[in-house]
């Protein structure tokens, strides 16, 4: 059993973490006004674009977990970079990499920034079933700030031509969201595990958001004093934070394992990804809510940071299939497997 991070993975976490640290505060600045690229945006797109890209797709042998470690570090600091959405779009294209061949250089070196159009209005799952309007997608991040859109439909994935982009009001203005109508595709390529890969990128960012909220809440619990002691000494404060830490650990472990399952082509990869995405969304929302609670009245102000974590958690929980949908799929697949196993 060698279920430990490699030296490279630790380094990726530290390097991206340092980049992200310099961008602490950018999520807050972007709560109003137009989106501007945070300092890390360019370097991330340029230098980290090969993380998690399989070799046949133009990668250099980096596994999915490498990418997730980087994205998790960004989530923890709420960095409002296009990198995670770009990386998820790239992963969406990597589900059948042997058949589709290498991705364009300008995508892999970040000159052409992608985003992903996966979610369907009025539905909680991603667009691999029957969609009411097969050409409309919602919750598309950075639509106006990206150079290309990768869409998912029942027949596969494709580089989509947007014919109409409608900006929507995002609960987290640092992540602009749009509805998109795309042109009828000339051809699509099979999605394979692409949607699973993309969902894991989102799950990793959610795990980061959960960790960031827990860190902030714990910091408050260690310093704020009432009744003559720090409030973290009260179990009514401490225990829900312990629960949040447990949920976040569960979600991160599920996410890492699911990535390994996808990368190694295991037959249970699907259910593992559904479980990871469900758990990550729940962990992030729960942690952010607790973070608000621990801050008392301050937690209810725009001025303090806790609500930023909640906003990001909501946006990401809905991306690439809502958490509640992933949870139900997890259950359905588990029940089906048990029934099949019993004959």
């Amino acid at each position: 059993m060698r279920a430990t991070f490699t030296e490279e993975q630790r380094e990726i976490g530290a390097t991206v973490g340092a980049l992200a640290d310099a961008d602490r505060g950018t999520a807050r600045e972007l709560q109003s006004g137009p989106w501007r690229a945070p300092a890390a945006d360019g370097p991330l797109l340029r230098d980290f674009g090969l993380l998690g890209v399989p070799e046949p797709a133009g990668g250099i042998g980096s596994g999915l977990i490498d990418l997730l470690v980087a994205v998790e570090a960004l989530g923890g600091r709420l960095v409002p970079s296009r990198f995670p959405a770009h990386a998820a779009a790239v992963q969406l294209l990597c589900g059948e990499e042997r058949r589709t061949g290498p991705l364009p250089d300008e995508v892999l070196d970040g000159r052409r920034v992608l985003t992903l159009a996966v979610d369907v209005p009025g539905s909680s799952g991603w667009a691999d079933g029957v969609a009411p309007d097969p050409l409309v997608r919602t919750l598309v991040p950075y639509a106006a700030q990206a150079d290309g859109v990768v869409a998912l439909g029942p027949d596969g994935v494709w580089f989509a031509d947007p014919v109409r982009t409608t900006a929507r009001q995002s609960v987290d203005p640092s992540v602009p969201l749009s509805d998109l109508t795309v042109a009828v595709p000339e051809r699509t390529q099979p999605a394979g595990t692409g949607p699973l890969r993309a969902a894991l990128v989102v799950a990793a960012e959610l795990c980061g958001v959960a960790q960031g909220a827990i860190d902030l809440a714990a910091e408050q619990a260690r310093t704020r004093r009432q009744f003559g002691q720090v409030i973290g000494a009260f179990q009514g404060v401490a225990f829900p934070l312990a629960e949040a830490a447990t949920a976040r650990k569960a979600a991160w472990d599920l996410t890492l394992y699911a990535a390994w399952a996808v990368d190694t082509g295991r037959p249970d990869a699907g259910i593992q990804v559904h479980a990871a995405k469900a758990a990550a969304g729940q962990a992030a929302v729960f942690a952010a809510e607790r973070c608000i609670q621990v801050h008392g009245g301050m937690g209810i102000t725009m001025e303090a940071d806790p609500h930023l974590f909640l906003r990001r958690a909501f946006v990401l929980d809905a991306r690439c299939g809502r958490g509640s949908w992933h949870r139900r799929r997890t259950g359905e697949l588990r029940i089906r497997a048990r029934r099949a196993g019993r004959g």
Binding site: A3, A238, L241, A250, L256, A278, S324, R328, R342
Partner: protein, 383 residues
Amino acid sequence: MDFADSDTDLAFRREVGRWLDGALADVPDQEELTQDEREHWSRVWQDRLCAGNWAGLSWPVAHGGRGMDALAQAVFNEEAAVRGAPYPLNGVGMMLAGPTIIAHGTDAQQARHLPGILRGDEYWCQGFSEPGSGSDLASLTTAATRVDGGWRINGAKIWTSNAHNASKCLLLARTDPDAPKHRGITYFLAPMDGFTVRSLVMINGDTEFNEMFLDDVFVADDDVLGGVGNGWTVALTTLAFERGSMALNLWVWARQAVDRLIDVAVERGVADDSAFADAVGALQCDAEAVRIGSMRMLGESRAGGVPGPETSALKSLWARVVQHANRLAVQLDEAGGVLVDGDGAAARMRRYLRARAHTIEGGTEEVQKSILAERVLRLPRSR
């Protein structure tokens, strides 16, 4: 990060699997048995483990073991649990007493106590908890006073699993009432002659644990483990082995609880309800998190790290899955757990009630949370 078994691990797993399949061929499904029948099979199973030379799997060769590491032991336990093997009646001897004596015992103590565990004719129990000292174990008051050649011990122990089958006890007693509470404790390898053992009936009707009364029980100096006054340190070793021994069992028990829940739902015709799928989805997330978290923990300890407070998170998740799955299974019954005259319903209620102990035994849920608060979140101590 690689979650696959290495070739050596895989080969070992196969060897274990082959042996288990043969040794379990005539063993009935434990879930269907009465407690007496289960104890019978636990004894038979213990004998087979000893005869098959598995009892000292992770003990050093010098002590009669196989010299394998803690992961190998965990894999063995995992493979046994997956196959629904009985719980070995001397689990405390093999997993707690042996390793603790190897870590802290003198040559003479090792020679005196280890062979009986490997032979399988000396069963052990863990006499830590007392009526007045549970979560706050270090407050224990069972008193050992110096007498010629040893100690005279007076006090009471409680919740002692399997004491009714044991002949030796891992016994904590206070040897210095004036020392700070963690320092005045001594760890004894006590023969149970003179112990009065009375069984306690659990809420599901079983009698797994006991109370023990010690009235002027004599324990010789030779049976002090790790030195007078060092009992707390030695006890922590035992508790660490206790957690380690269950490293890969918890997820199996969690998965089996979810399996059984799905089987009931299929029987009841509700397995296709979306609300049921939602519930199973949540359980599956937690159950898999226990499995994966355990693999990461073992990976870390093999890489030389020390398992940290994450074991508390895993224990907590495991308890929640099993309790919740067993509750749902009961609620799916004809009268939602009120009528327990059918075989299946009675067994489900028995399991549900037994699972209530999962948030109490081995450190309560609240203690696990306070460990996480303290060591992961760096909040002040609250216990």
